[in-house]
Subunit: 241 residues, 2 copies
DNA sequence: GTCTATATAGTGATAGAC
DNA sequence: GTCTATCACTATATAGAC
């Protein structure tokens, strides 16, 4: 929600206020008051979450300050602490949000029984996610680099089970001769690393390959290039060929 | 130098002092004084650099504090500022150090005219570096994620020229039919992303694959698995086959 | 639900005795 | 070359008027 207006505090404030105003117009009936309040809360919270994602991405958890997040959101710091009592509670909400997106992309892995389709589709979904929400990917990366102290639960209870079942699936594909005898986890790590690189190492890619390399058209081409290379790496064959 | 004693301040102090004592024993001649002083400086500086690398890796530049770095080194904060006037100067020294290692690994790319040898050797060198100095890789990753503001010079003047010439080389291999028609930069990014993942995402790998996955023997196997997959992805053929 | 003012602790950096 | 004491500043978080 409004995840592209995280730059100047002034612009943010203007957007935020017009959004509130729009919601106020609908609030004409008797029961409007609680609905409007709820809307204000929802609007401010999601706006703060978007700004927090940007600041956590740029400076990590310890380096981020609630003052800077509030400033970007065009709100006083005390307001931020009204919605999110502690910096950690705000951070957790951001991480939780990110996992939901991760999970949505993960589900594309099961879209087909054909390994080339499944893996190709998953790589495309991960590349699209890197493109659409690079800041989120950076927050995740920062969290893992810093030791993943706040993500042990997500990793162990949510990500690990997903990985285990996908490992089993990949092993079956190998047995059926549809994939080269790869180590399934190594393949999955390679997919994650390569696709997330286009979000996390954006600044390096820009410096080395020029910003045109990150244009929409170029990103499409790169995505298909990555798909091709990952499929070759995994030795995927069509089941009916 | 002593890059594995960055855990407890007490242990660090003990090691540091015994190192100094060892150096003091050699300082018996007249001209020993300046040499001993130089040794103290060199020893303290490199010890501080090692501890700084660990703290910058865990918390990023903004999140790291000179107090914490000094504490890990078993030195008072004022001492750190005696050797490194500002936090930024310390950070730059760490980045500079890291680039030297990056550069050493990069040179392995030119060890052979055979693309399979060159690429395979480079992947092994990068995996070995991830294994030997994961904290350094994390500092680099953190710096790029945060926008690479302090690394523009290194990226543009050192990394980019290296990449350009390697792109030309890869394009020649493709013309000669020794490589599949891949986009050279996409291949290089894939190599970097995949190999550095084993350093930067250590915590995630540990959580998902268990710590035995990061044992020495397992890492060797994984390295060869990664080499195999990258070579397949690039479609490398031997020039004399 | 908003926001000024502030409590308390930590920050980078320095002075100056040893 | 070492280290205590301290400066000016910023951090998270809260109180309490509006």
């Amino acid at each position: 929600m409004r995840d592209d207006d995280t730059n100047t505090p002034a612009a943010n404030l203007a957007l935020r206020q017009s959004a509130n105003a729009r919601e106020d117009q609908d609030a004409t009936s008797k029961d409007a008051r609680p609905r409007r309040k709820a809307s204000i809360r929802a609007s401010n919270e999601s706006h703060l979450l978007a700004c927090a994602e940007a600041v956590f991405a740029e400076r990590g958890f310890e380096g981020a300050s609630t003052a800077l997040i509030a400033e970007r959101a065009g709100l006083p710091k005390a307001n931020l602490h009204y919605y999110f009592p502690t910096k950690l509670s705000l951070y957790w909400r951001v991480l939780d949000d990110l996992f939901e997106e991760w999970n949505a992309a993960a589900s594309t892995f099961d879209a087909s029984d054909d390994p080339a389709q499944a893996i190709g589709g998953y790589v495309r979904a991960k590349m699209a996610l890197s493109r659409r929400r690079p800041l989120g990917s950076k927050v995740w990366a920062n969290e893992i680099i810093s030791g993943a102290t706040h993500m042990q639960d997500i990793l162990l209870k949510r990500v690990k089970p997903w990985m285990e079942s996908r490992v089993t699936l990949i092993e079956r594909w190998i047995e059926e001769g549809l994939l080269a005898p790869v180590e399934p986890r190594t393949l999955l790590f390679m997919i994650w690393a390569t696709t997330q690189h286009y979000a996390d190492f954006e600044a390096q890619i820009r410096a080395l390959a020029g910003k045109r390399a990150l244009s929409a058209a170029s990103f499409e081409t790169t995505t298909e290039e990555v798909v091709k290379m990952i499929l070759r790496a995994s030795g995927a064959r069509s089941p009916h060929a």
